[in-house]
């Protein structure tokens, strides 16, 4: 039964799949990064279809707008070039791509066969920021605080790991 919901789901899903396949197919990391941004934007559309509007907005702001900027930044900074094909990578492609196809076909077959027709309506979730805020600060307060400490640790770790090693100051010659 064709509905607007199904058409939109298939459109966003097609963009997400195209982005994922393009990430595998491209050789230059910047193209892979841009494909991943397209995947995240399509997934934000999927979240909107399910009614999780706050999660969709946070996906765009945090994931596509900050984490991927970090990736693009590092690619630009390190001047990453086209990756070279070694013997190991050729073997991996030979066995990996058919393996991945087989695995995903198996999963898809099992899911589609054993699921029945329980459907998810458009906007099924009450995804308003207020409900999520109430949940986050009442039932999930401890995980929230722990993740904030995790971010603090990550900030400190990133600053320490990426800083240049300290160089010894030059020895001063005493002139007479």
């Amino acid at each position: 039964m064709i509905s607007v919901h199904l058409i939109l789901f298939l459109a966003f899903g097609a963009v997400a799949l195209a982005g994922a396949v393009n990430l595998l197919a491209q050789t230059h990391p910047i193209n892979s990064a841009l494909s991943l941004i397209a995947v995240m934007a399509a997934l934000a559309g999927e979240y909107l279809l399910l009614g999780a509007e706050f999660v969709a907005a946070v996906q765009v702001i945090v994931y596509a707008g900050a984490i991927m900027v970090l990736f693009v930044f590092v690619i630009m900074l390190l001047n990453a070039g086209i990756e070279d094909r070694t013997k190991g990578s050729r073997v991996a492609v030979l066995f990996g791509i058919p393996g991945m196809l087989l695995g995903s076909l198996l999963v898809a077959w099992v899911l589609l066969r054993h699921s029945g027709t329980e459907a998810v309506a458009v906007g099924a979730l009450p995804g308003a920021p207020k409900t999520i805020g109430m949940l986050l600060f009442h039932e999930f307060l401890l995980p929230f605080e722990i993740t904030s400490i995790l971010i603090l640790i990550a900030i400190m770790g990133a600053v320490v790991l990426a800083s240049k090693p300290p160089t010894a100051p030059p020895v001063e010659k005493v002139s007479d």
């Binding site: 509905s3 919901h5 199904l6 589609l112």
Partner: protein, 100 residues
């Protein structure tokens, strides 16, 4: 009305693409991006199940997954920069000695 299994199939295929990218790619940044793709696939299945069973906790867990992904991306990219500084290469096949 879209059946729940369609969302799960999409999520599974995204996860499989992430795993494939992790195994076949040789550039360390692209491997890292495949990890992010896997996390995105998992996020989609969380939100789909939350919509199906009207369990709002699914959405909240997506936040935690995103936060952990952000922290991991920050530290991982710092490590990549540190590795690049010493090894001068981004190809994982060439980072195979513990000491230069």
């Amino acid at each position: 009305m879209v059946p729940l299994s369609y969302y799960l199939v999409l999520s599974g295929i995204l996860f499989a693409c992430g795993v494939a990218g992790f195994l076949i790619k040789r550039n360390i940044i692209t491997i890292f991006m495949s990890i992010e793709l896997m996390l995105n696939g998992v996020n989609l299945s969380f939100v789909a199940f939350a919509a199906h069973w009207h369990a709002l906790a699914g959405q909240v867990f997506v936040f935690f997954v995103m936060v952990v992904a952000a922290a991991e991306a920050a530290v991982g990219l710092a490590i990549i920069i540190a590795v690049y500084r010493t090894r001068e290469t981004l190809n994982v096949d060439q980072v195979n000695l513990l000491k230069l």
